[in-house]
Symmetry: C2
Subunit: 106 residues, 2 copies
DNA sequence: AAAATGATTAACCATTTAGTTATCTATAAA
DNA sequence: TTTATAGATAACTAAATGGTTAATCATTTT
């Protein structure tokens, strides 16, 4: 049986949990952006964005390509799809267990 | 348009993100437990469990009934179902946006 | 070649988080 | 009724988080 509370899920949840990281994801749905372009509307410094970017990249939600001195950040659709599929599996698992639970206790 | 990164989702994610809280949820899938019974296998003090319980209760994932001096903790199936439904909505949203994104960029 | 720009890294600081032990309250057992 | 037990709360500490500014590196512009 899979461990349903493993690091990968925690990472995905943790990555999304911070408002600045949510802001980054939301912004990138509109299209690519550089670090500076992400920083400006979120009212934080570039180093702050840089750190959040690393977390989101490690969680497999973002990627970047370096164009000269600019880093163009974008959503990583394939890996995002994977993550969402992953969550979907867990959702199913939870619902099944909840059904059991409901039968047993109510 | 709904704000898809709102407090409720962050709370649900945050609540699940900590290993001890994951451990509590996993344990309660096996059935009810007291604070002490939760604490023992997780190798932390009762006050530590007490704090995590509060977070999980506020996130609507657990409830307890007081039986004498014991607190019987259990999953809160209805509210869990709500939370999962909530996540399901978001999953759908994300997939739709991802499809748009894929069409636009690939 | 020098200056300016985009981003990372380093060093630092404040806040939050998560744990502990000690104390207190309520219930159960002696 | 005294003692023991379950749990909450308080006070404290250590570690993690998230931010800043300053320094550095690479690229672009002048």
């Amino acid at each position: 049986m899979v461990n349903h509370f493993d690091r990968q899920l925690n990472l995905a949840f943790g990555a999304r949990a911070h408002p600045i990281r949510c802001g980054i994801l939301a912004r990138l749905f509109e299209g690519e952006a550089s670090i500076a372009e992400l920083a400006r509307p979120l009212r934080v410094s570039a180093p702050a964005i840089s750190k959040h970017m690393r977390i989101l990249e490690e969680a497999g939600r973002l990627s970047r390509k370096t164009e000269g001195r600019e880093h163009r950040c974008r959503l990583e659709p394939k890996r995002m799809k994977d993550a969402e599929g992953w969550i979907e599996q867990h959702r199913t698992f939870w619902n099944e267990r909840l059904d059991e639970y409901l039968k047993a206790f109510q």
